[in-house]
Protein backbone atom coordinates (compact mmCIF):
# COMPACT_ATOMS: atom_id res chain seq x y z
CA UNK A 1 0.00 0.00 0.00
CA UNK A 2 3.06 2.20 0.09
CA UNK A 3 3.86 4.58 -2.72
CA UNK A 4 7.59 3.98 -2.43
CA UNK A 5 9.01 1.03 -4.36
CA UNK A 6 10.09 -2.06 -2.46
CA UNK A 7 13.77 -1.96 -1.56
CA UNK A 8 16.31 -3.46 0.85
CA UNK A 9 19.61 -1.55 0.94
CA UNK A 10 22.76 -3.64 0.70
CA UNK A 11 24.60 -1.81 3.48
CA UNK A 12 22.12 -2.71 6.22
CA UNK A 13 21.85 -5.71 8.55
CA UNK A 14 18.42 -7.30 8.93
CA UNK A 15 16.49 -8.96 11.74
CA UNK A 16 13.89 -11.63 10.88
CA UNK A 17 11.18 -9.53 12.63
CA UNK A 18 11.57 -7.04 9.76
CA UNK A 19 13.87 -4.54 11.42
CA UNK A 20 17.07 -3.12 10.05
CA UNK A 21 20.27 -1.82 11.64
CA UNK A 22 22.82 0.53 10.11
CA UNK A 23 26.12 -0.12 11.88
CA UNK A 24 28.72 2.59 12.44
CA UNK A 25 31.44 1.27 14.78
CA UNK A 26 29.78 0.50 18.10
CA UNK A 27 26.71 2.60 17.26
CA UNK A 28 23.70 1.60 15.20
CA UNK A 29 20.54 3.17 13.80
CA UNK A 30 17.37 1.04 13.90
CA UNK A 31 14.28 1.13 11.75
CA UNK A 32 11.66 -1.12 10.18
CA UNK A 33 11.94 -2.54 6.68
CA UNK A 34 9.91 -1.74 3.60
CA UNK A 35 8.10 -5.03 4.08
CA UNK A 36 7.13 -4.14 7.66
CA UNK A 37 5.79 -0.67 6.86
CA UNK A 38 3.88 -2.05 3.86
CA UNK A 39 2.24 -4.76 5.97
CA UNK A 40 1.35 -2.21 8.65
CA UNK A 41 -0.14 0.42 6.35
CA UNK A 42 -0.13 4.15 7.07
CA UNK A 43 1.71 4.73 10.33
CA UNK A 44 -0.15 7.32 12.39
CA UNK A 45 1.58 7.11 15.75
CA UNK A 46 5.03 6.28 17.05
CA UNK A 47 5.78 6.42 20.75
CA UNK A 48 9.59 6.54 21.05
CA UNK A 49 11.49 5.07 23.98
CA UNK A 50 13.34 7.45 26.29
CA UNK A 51 16.90 8.41 25.51
CA UNK A 52 18.96 6.33 27.93
CA UNK A 53 16.59 3.38 27.82
CA UNK A 54 18.08 -0.07 27.44
CA UNK A 55 17.00 -2.21 24.51
CA UNK A 56 17.61 -5.95 24.28
CA UNK A 57 18.11 -7.93 21.13
CA UNK A 58 14.94 -9.74 20.00
CA UNK A 59 12.81 -7.85 22.54
CA UNK A 60 10.09 -5.32 21.70
CA UNK A 61 11.33 -1.80 22.50
CA UNK A 62 8.58 0.37 21.04
CA UNK A 63 5.32 0.31 19.09
CA UNK A 64 4.19 1.75 15.82
CA UNK A 65 0.49 2.15 15.09
CA UNK A 66 -1.43 2.37 11.88
CA UNK A 67 -5.07 3.46 11.83
CA UNK A 68 -6.12 -0.15 12.20
CA UNK A 69 -3.47 -1.90 14.25
CA UNK A 70 -0.61 -1.74 16.73
CA UNK A 71 2.67 -3.48 16.03
CA UNK A 72 5.60 -4.16 18.32
CA UNK A 73 9.03 -3.19 17.06
CA UNK A 74 11.86 -5.56 17.99
CA UNK A 75 15.42 -4.56 18.70
CA UNK A 76 17.84 -6.18 16.25
CA UNK A 77 20.72 -5.63 18.73
CA UNK A 78 21.22 -4.77 22.41
CA UNK A 79 22.34 -1.42 23.76
CA UNK A 80 21.37 1.98 25.13
CA UNK A 81 19.23 4.49 23.24
CA UNK A 82 21.29 7.62 22.49
CA UNK A 83 18.82 9.43 20.22
CA UNK A 84 15.22 9.11 19.04
CA UNK A 85 13.78 10.47 15.82
CA UNK A 86 11.81 13.51 17.00
CA UNK A 87 10.48 14.22 13.50
CA UNK A 88 8.23 11.18 13.77
CA UNK A 89 6.14 12.87 16.48
CA UNK A 90 4.57 15.19 13.93
CA UNK A 91 5.23 13.08 10.83
CA UNK A 92 4.99 9.37 11.64
CA UNK A 93 4.22 8.77 7.96
CA UNK A 94 7.96 9.18 7.28
CA UNK A 95 8.20 5.55 8.40
CA UNK A 96 6.21 4.71 5.26
CA UNK A 97 7.66 7.20 2.83
CA UNK A 98 11.34 6.83 3.77
CA UNK A 99 11.79 3.70 5.91
CA UNK A 100 15.60 3.65 5.62
CA UNK A 101 16.18 7.41 5.76
CA UNK A 102 14.03 10.00 7.58
CA UNK A 103 11.88 7.19 8.95
CA UNK A 104 14.61 5.84 11.27
CA UNK A 105 13.42 5.11 14.82
CA UNK A 106 16.34 5.20 17.30
CA UNK A 107 20.11 5.37 17.54
CA UNK A 108 21.70 2.90 19.94
CA UNK A 109 25.11 2.54 21.58
CA UNK A 110 25.71 -1.19 21.19
CA UNK A 111 26.56 -3.23 24.27
CA UNK A 112 27.69 -6.38 22.48
CA UNK A 113 28.98 -6.10 18.93
CA UNK A 114 29.31 -9.88 18.79
CA UNK A 115 25.54 -9.96 18.34
CA UNK A 116 26.07 -8.59 14.83
CA UNK A 117 26.90 -12.07 13.61
CA UNK A 118 23.34 -13.23 14.17
CA UNK A 119 21.83 -10.61 11.85
CA UNK A 120 20.99 -11.32 8.22
CA UNK A 121 22.66 -9.89 5.17
CA UNK A 122 20.31 -8.47 2.56
CA UNK A 123 20.34 -11.66 0.46
CA UNK A 124 19.33 -13.86 3.37
CA UNK A 125 16.61 -11.41 4.43
CA UNK A 126 15.15 -11.34 0.92
CA UNK A 127 15.19 -15.13 0.91
CA UNK A 128 13.25 -15.10 4.17
CA UNK A 129 10.65 -12.78 2.62
CA UNK A 130 10.16 -15.02 -0.38
CA UNK A 131 9.97 -18.25 1.60
Amino acid sequence: MSDVPESYPEDLKYHPEHDWARIEGDEATFGITWYAQDALGEVVFYDPPEVGATVSKDQAYTEVESVKAVSDVFAPLSGEVTAVNDKLGDSPELINSDPYGDGWLVKVKLSDTAELESLLEVGAYKELLSS
Binding site: M1, G41, E42, V44, F45, D47, E63, E65, S66, V67, K68, V70, G89
Partner: protein
Protein backbone atom coordinates in the same frame (compact mmCIF):
# COMPACT_ATOMS: atom_id res chain seq x y z
CA UNK B 1 -14.60 -5.15 1.02
CA UNK B 2 -10.88 -4.58 1.55
CA UNK B 3 -9.58 -2.61 4.55
CA UNK B 4 -8.32 0.05 2.17
CA UNK B 5 -7.76 0.93 -1.47
CA UNK B 6 -5.56 4.06 -1.44
CA UNK B 7 -5.12 4.39 2.29
CA UNK B 8 -7.49 4.95 5.19
CA UNK B 9 -6.71 8.65 5.64
CA UNK B 10 -7.08 9.55 1.97
CA UNK B 11 -10.35 7.64 1.71
CA UNK B 12 -11.67 9.16 4.93
CA UNK B 13 -10.81 12.64 3.70
CA UNK B 14 -12.42 11.94 0.33
CA UNK B 15 -15.75 10.99 1.94
CA UNK B 16 -15.67 14.07 4.20
CA UNK B 17 -14.91 16.50 1.36
CA UNK B 18 -16.02 14.87 -1.90
CA UNK B 19 -17.57 11.44 -2.45
CA UNK B 20 -16.55 7.86 -1.72
CA UNK B 21 -18.26 4.52 -2.19
CA UNK B 22 -18.21 1.41 -0.06
CA UNK B 23 -19.06 -2.03 -1.35
CA UNK B 24 -21.13 -3.22 1.61
CA UNK B 25 -22.58 -6.21 -0.21
CA UNK B 26 -21.48 -8.40 2.70
CA UNK B 27 -24.42 -6.99 4.68
CA UNK B 28 -27.50 -9.18 4.81
CA UNK B 29 -31.12 -8.53 3.90
CA UNK B 30 -34.30 -10.02 5.32
CA UNK B 31 -37.64 -9.49 3.60
CA UNK B 32 -40.81 -9.54 5.70
CA UNK B 33 -44.12 -9.67 3.83
CA UNK B 34 -47.74 -10.66 4.28
CA UNK B 35 -50.84 -9.12 5.87
CA UNK B 36 -49.26 -8.98 9.34
CA UNK B 37 -45.70 -8.13 8.36
CA UNK B 38 -45.90 -4.81 10.19
CA UNK B 39 -47.27 -6.45 13.36
CA UNK B 40 -44.46 -9.01 13.32
CA UNK B 41 -41.78 -6.35 12.94
CA UNK B 42 -43.44 -4.23 15.61
CA UNK B 43 -43.10 -7.25 17.89
CA UNK B 44 -39.41 -7.71 16.99
CA UNK B 45 -37.89 -4.28 16.33
CA UNK B 46 -37.43 -1.61 18.97
CA UNK B 47 -38.65 1.37 16.96
CA UNK B 48 -42.31 2.19 16.20
CA UNK B 49 -43.13 0.55 12.87
CA UNK B 50 -46.33 2.61 12.65
CA UNK B 51 -44.07 5.63 12.11
CA UNK B 52 -42.33 3.93 9.17
CA UNK B 53 -44.36 5.41 6.34
CA UNK B 54 -44.46 4.32 2.68
CA UNK B 55 -40.98 4.53 1.15
CA UNK B 56 -39.53 5.36 4.55
CA UNK B 57 -36.43 4.13 6.38
CA UNK B 58 -36.07 3.47 10.08
CA UNK B 59 -33.21 2.57 12.43
CA UNK B 60 -33.83 0.13 15.26
CA UNK B 61 -32.33 -2.64 17.33
CA UNK B 62 -33.37 -6.26 17.64
CA UNK B 63 -33.36 -7.37 21.29
CA UNK B 64 -33.70 -10.65 23.10
CA UNK B 65 -36.07 -11.07 26.06
CA UNK B 66 -33.41 -9.77 28.45
CA UNK B 67 -32.98 -6.59 26.43
CA UNK B 68 -29.56 -7.62 25.08
CA UNK B 69 -28.88 -6.37 21.58
CA UNK B 70 -28.96 -9.03 18.85
CA UNK B 71 -28.28 -6.48 16.11
CA UNK B 72 -28.80 -2.90 14.99
CA UNK B 73 -30.48 -2.49 11.65
CA UNK B 74 -32.17 -0.29 9.08
CA UNK B 75 -35.62 -1.29 7.84
CA UNK B 76 -37.17 0.05 4.61
CA UNK B 77 -40.86 -0.06 3.67
CA UNK B 78 -40.91 -1.19 0.03
CA UNK B 79 -43.38 -0.07 -2.66
CA UNK B 80 -45.09 -3.49 -2.63
CA UNK B 81 -45.88 -3.14 1.06
CA UNK B 82 -43.22 -5.56 2.26
CA UNK B 83 -40.27 -4.60 4.46
CA UNK B 84 -36.57 -5.00 3.82
CA UNK B 85 -34.31 -5.14 6.87
CA UNK B 86 -30.55 -4.78 6.42
CA UNK B 87 -28.50 -6.84 8.88
CA UNK B 88 -24.87 -6.87 9.92
CA UNK B 89 -23.09 -9.67 8.09
CA UNK B 90 -21.85 -11.43 11.21
CA UNK B 91 -25.35 -11.43 12.72
CA UNK B 92 -27.34 -12.15 9.59
CA UNK B 93 -27.99 -15.84 10.13
CA UNK B 94 -28.92 -15.34 13.78
CA UNK B 95 -31.18 -12.39 12.92
CA UNK B 96 -32.94 -14.30 10.18
CA UNK B 97 -33.51 -17.34 12.39
CA UNK B 98 -34.73 -15.14 15.23
CA UNK B 99 -37.15 -13.27 12.98
CA UNK B 100 -38.40 -16.38 11.18
CA UNK B 101 -38.68 -18.20 14.49
CA UNK B 102 -41.15 -15.60 15.78
CA UNK B 103 -43.21 -15.42 12.60
CA UNK B 104 -45.40 -18.40 13.47
CA UNK B 105 -47.93 -16.33 15.43
CA UNK B 106 -48.35 -13.88 12.58
CA UNK B 107 -49.66 -13.99 9.03
CA UNK B 108 -46.29 -13.03 7.74
CA UNK B 109 -43.43 -14.52 5.78
CA UNK B 110 -39.78 -13.93 6.60
CA UNK B 111 -37.29 -14.60 3.81
CA UNK B 112 -33.51 -14.53 3.75
CA UNK B 113 -32.93 -12.48 0.60
CA UNK B 114 -29.25 -11.67 1.16
CA UNK B 115 -28.15 -13.44 -2.05
CA UNK B 116 -30.51 -11.22 -4.07
CA UNK B 117 -28.86 -7.94 -3.19
CA UNK B 118 -25.58 -6.16 -3.66
CA UNK B 119 -25.22 -2.92 -1.72
CA UNK B 120 -23.14 0.18 -2.36
CA UNK B 121 -22.97 3.08 0.09
CA UNK B 122 -22.16 6.32 -1.74
CA UNK B 123 -21.29 8.97 0.82
CA UNK B 124 -19.96 12.50 0.98
CA UNK B 125 -21.01 16.04 0.08
CA UNK B 126 -20.75 15.27 -3.65
CA UNK B 127 -22.33 11.79 -3.42
CA UNK B 128 -25.88 12.74 -4.30
CA UNK B 129 -24.78 14.74 -7.31
CA UNK B 130 -22.69 11.87 -8.62
CA UNK B 131 -25.56 9.39 -8.24
CA UNK B 132 -28.05 11.85 -9.72
CA UNK B 133 -25.93 12.13 -12.85
CA UNK B 134 -26.25 8.41 -13.53
CA UNK B 135 -29.82 7.94 -12.21
CA UNK B 136 -33.09 8.29 -14.07
CA UNK B 137 -35.31 10.07 -11.56
CA UNK B 138 -35.22 12.07 -8.36
CA UNK B 139 -33.20 10.72 -5.43
CA UNK B 140 -35.03 10.23 -2.15
CA UNK B 141 -34.67 12.66 0.73
CA UNK B 142 -32.81 11.64 3.87
CA UNK B 143 -34.46 8.58 5.52
CA UNK B 144 -36.65 7.98 2.42
CA UNK B 145 -36.31 5.50 -0.42
CA UNK B 146 -37.05 5.43 -4.16
CA UNK B 147 -36.87 2.68 -6.76
CA UNK B 148 -35.33 4.20 -9.88
CA UNK B 149 -32.89 3.15 -12.59
CA UNK B 150 -29.25 3.82 -11.71
CA UNK B 151 -26.78 3.24 -14.55
CA UNK B 152 -29.75 1.74 -16.36
CA UNK B 153 -30.38 -0.85 -13.65
CA UNK B 154 -33.39 -0.87 -11.33
CA UNK B 155 -32.08 0.13 -7.93
CA UNK B 156 -33.52 0.70 -4.49
CA UNK B 157 -32.02 4.06 -3.54
CA UNK B 158 -32.09 4.84 0.18
CA UNK B 159 -31.33 8.18 1.76
CA UNK B 160 -29.25 6.54 4.47
CA UNK B 161 -25.62 5.93 5.35
CA UNK B 162 -23.29 5.44 8.27
CA UNK B 163 -20.58 8.03 7.83
CA UNK B 164 -22.12 11.23 9.18
CA UNK B 165 -22.10 12.64 5.64
CA UNK B 166 -24.96 13.11 3.23
CA UNK B 167 -25.36 10.40 0.62
CA UNK B 168 -27.33 7.36 -0.41
CA UNK B 169 -27.18 3.60 -0.19
CA UNK B 170 -27.97 1.57 -3.30
CA UNK B 171 -29.44 -1.93 -3.26
CA UNK B 172 -29.52 -3.81 -6.54
CA UNK B 173 -29.26 -7.27 -8.05
CA UNK B 174 -25.64 -8.49 -7.70
CA UNK B 175 -25.31 -8.89 -11.49
CA UNK B 176 -26.02 -5.16 -11.89
CA UNK B 177 -23.59 -3.92 -9.26
CA UNK B 178 -20.46 -3.78 -11.45
CA UNK B 179 -22.18 -1.45 -13.94
CA UNK B 180 -23.31 0.87 -11.13
CA UNK B 181 -19.83 0.81 -9.55
CA UNK B 182 -18.16 1.62 -12.89
CA UNK B 183 -20.62 4.43 -13.65
CA UNK B 184 -19.91 6.02 -10.26
CA UNK B 185 -16.15 5.57 -10.70
CA UNK B 186 -16.47 7.47 -13.98
CA UNK B 187 -18.21 10.25 -12.02
CA UNK B 188 -15.13 10.56 -9.83
CA UNK B 189 -16.47 8.69 -6.81
CA UNK B 190 -13.50 7.00 -5.11
CA UNK B 191 -13.62 3.48 -3.66
CA UNK B 192 -13.31 3.42 0.13
CA UNK B 193 -12.67 0.44 2.40
CA UNK B 194 -13.51 -0.95 5.79
CA UNK B 195 -10.83 1.12 7.53
CA UNK B 196 -12.34 4.44 6.47
CA UNK B 197 -15.84 3.15 7.13
CA UNK B 198 -14.80 2.54 10.73
CA UNK B 199 -13.08 5.90 11.29
CA UNK B 200 -15.97 7.78 9.65
CA UNK B 201 -18.67 6.09 11.70
CA UNK B 202 -16.63 6.55 14.86
CA UNK B 203 -16.26 10.30 14.31
CA UNK B 204 -20.02 10.41 13.76
CA UNK B 205 -20.44 8.38 17.01
CA UNK B 206 -22.41 5.64 15.28
CA UNK B 207 -22.41 2.25 16.96
CA UNK B 208 -20.62 -0.81 15.61
CA UNK B 209 -22.09 -4.15 16.57
CA UNK B 210 -19.51 -6.37 18.26
CA UNK B 211 -17.72 -3.28 19.62
CA UNK B 212 -20.28 -0.88 21.07
CA UNK B 213 -23.29 -3.17 20.99
CA UNK B 214 -23.57 -6.76 22.17
CA UNK B 215 -25.84 -9.21 23.96
CA UNK B 216 -24.21 -8.03 27.20
CA UNK B 217 -25.28 -4.41 26.69
CA UNK B 218 -28.78 -3.04 26.39
CA UNK B 219 -29.74 -0.23 24.03
CA UNK B 220 -30.50 2.19 26.87
CA UNK B 221 -26.93 2.18 28.18
CA UNK B 222 -25.72 2.27 24.57
CA UNK B 223 -27.48 5.63 24.17
CA UNK B 224 -30.10 4.19 21.82
CA UNK B 225 -33.11 4.89 24.02
CA UNK B 226 -34.40 7.19 21.28
CA UNK B 227 -35.10 4.21 19.00
CA UNK B 228 -36.66 2.10 21.78
CA UNK B 229 -40.40 2.74 21.81
CA UNK B 230 -41.30 0.72 24.89
CA UNK B 231 -45.06 1.20 24.35
CA UNK B 232 -44.90 -0.94 21.23
CA UNK B 233 -44.24 -3.97 23.48
CA UNK B 234 -41.37 -5.30 21.38
CA UNK B 235 -39.41 -8.29 22.65
CA UNK B 236 -37.10 -6.99 25.34
CA UNK B 237 -39.20 -3.92 26.18
CA UNK B 238 -40.25 -5.29 29.58
CA UNK B 239 -36.63 -5.82 30.57
CA UNK B 240 -35.67 -2.36 29.32
CA UNK B 241 -38.50 -0.70 31.24
CA UNK B 242 -36.95 -1.95 34.49
CA UNK B 243 -33.36 -1.44 33.39
CA UNK B 244 -31.29 0.92 35.48
CA UNK B 245 -27.94 0.87 33.75
CA UNK B 246 -24.98 2.11 35.77
CA UNK B 247 -22.95 2.92 32.68
CA UNK B 248 -23.53 4.79 29.48
CA UNK B 249 -21.71 4.95 26.14
CA UNK B 250 -19.97 8.27 25.50
CA UNK B 251 -17.46 9.64 23.00
CA UNK B 252 -14.06 10.83 24.20
CA UNK B 253 -10.92 12.37 22.73
CA UNK B 254 -7.32 12.17 23.83
CA UNK B 255 -5.78 15.41 25.01
CA UNK B 256 -2.23 14.09 24.48
CA UNK B 257 -0.53 11.39 22.44
CA UNK B 258 -1.73 7.84 21.90
CA UNK B 259 -4.47 5.85 20.21
CA UNK B 260 -7.18 4.11 22.22
CA UNK B 261 -8.24 0.60 21.23
CA UNK B 262 -11.17 -1.67 21.99
CA UNK B 263 -10.85 -3.20 25.45
CA UNK B 264 -8.63 -0.49 27.00
CA UNK B 265 -9.60 0.09 30.65
CA UNK B 266 -10.73 3.60 31.62
CA UNK B 267 -10.42 5.32 35.01
CA UNK B 268 -12.81 8.10 35.96
CA UNK B 269 -13.48 9.95 39.22
CA UNK B 270 -16.66 7.83 39.49
CA UNK B 271 -15.11 4.43 38.79
CA UNK B 272 -13.94 2.20 35.99
CA UNK B 273 -15.08 2.00 32.40
CA UNK B 274 -14.04 0.38 29.13
CA UNK B 275 -13.23 1.51 25.60
CA UNK B 276 -15.39 -0.31 23.04
CA UNK B 277 -14.14 1.51 19.91
CA UNK B 278 -10.97 3.49 19.45
CA UNK B 279 -8.87 4.87 16.63
CA UNK B 280 -6.94 7.85 15.45
CA UNK B 281 -9.57 10.33 14.25
CA UNK B 282 -8.32 11.51 10.86
CA UNK B 283 -10.33 14.75 11.06
CA UNK B 284 -9.38 15.65 14.64
CA UNK B 285 -5.90 14.15 14.25
CA UNK B 286 -6.06 12.77 17.77
CA UNK B 287 -6.93 9.53 19.48
CA UNK B 288 -10.71 9.21 19.89
CA UNK B 289 -13.27 6.58 20.70
CA UNK B 290 -16.38 5.39 22.46
CA UNK B 291 -16.38 4.05 26.01
CA UNK B 292 -18.87 2.76 28.53
CA UNK B 293 -18.38 4.95 31.60
CA UNK B 294 -20.15 5.30 34.96
CA UNK B 295 -23.12 7.62 34.45
CA UNK B 296 -21.64 10.22 36.77
CA UNK B 297 -18.57 10.52 34.53
CA UNK B 298 -20.51 10.88 31.27
CA UNK B 299 -20.73 14.67 31.24
CA UNK B 300 -18.76 16.28 28.37
CA UNK B 301 -15.60 17.83 29.77
CA UNK B 302 -15.04 15.13 32.39
CA UNK B 303 -11.35 14.25 32.53
CA UNK B 304 -10.65 10.53 32.27
CA UNK B 305 -7.60 8.31 31.84
CA UNK B 306 -7.33 5.47 29.35
CA UNK B 307 -4.87 2.64 29.98
CA UNK B 308 -3.37 1.90 26.56
CA UNK B 309 -1.34 -1.29 27.00
CA UNK B 310 -0.01 -0.10 30.33
CA UNK B 311 0.47 3.56 29.46
CA UNK B 312 -1.93 6.05 31.03
CA UNK B 313 -3.29 8.44 28.40
CA UNK B 314 -5.20 11.63 29.22
CA UNK B 315 -8.63 12.02 27.66
CA UNK B 316 -11.78 14.04 28.04
CA UNK B 317 -15.43 13.10 27.54
CA UNK B 318 -16.68 14.84 24.40
CA UNK B 319 -19.97 15.82 22.82
CA UNK B 320 -21.40 13.73 20.03
CA UNK B 321 -20.75 13.82 17.17
CA UNK B 322 -16.97 14.10 17.40
CA UNK B 323 -17.05 15.34 13.84
CA UNK B 324 -18.27 17.72 12.65
CA UNK B 325 -17.86 19.31 16.11
CA UNK B 326 -20.99 20.85 17.54
CA UNK B 327 -21.02 24.61 17.15
CA UNK B 328 -21.17 26.69 20.31
CA UNK B 329 -24.57 28.34 20.41
Amino acid sequence: MPVQYQGVRAEHECVRTKAGMFDVSHMGEVRTSGPQAEELLQHLLSNDLAKLTDDGAQYSVLCNEEGGVLDDLFTYRLPDGAFLTVTNASNHQRDYEWMAGHAGDFEAEVQDVAPKYAMLAVQGPLARGAVEDVADGALPERMRTATIPVAGQETLVCGTGYTGEDGVELLMAPAHAPAVWDALLAQGVKPAGLGARDTLRLEACFHLYGNDLSLQRNPIEAGLGWICKLDTQFIGSDALRDAEPEQTLVPFVFTGPGIPRQGNPVSTPQGAGEVTSGTLSPCLNTGAGLAYLPKGAAEPGTEIEVDVRGKPRAAVVAQRPLYPPKKES
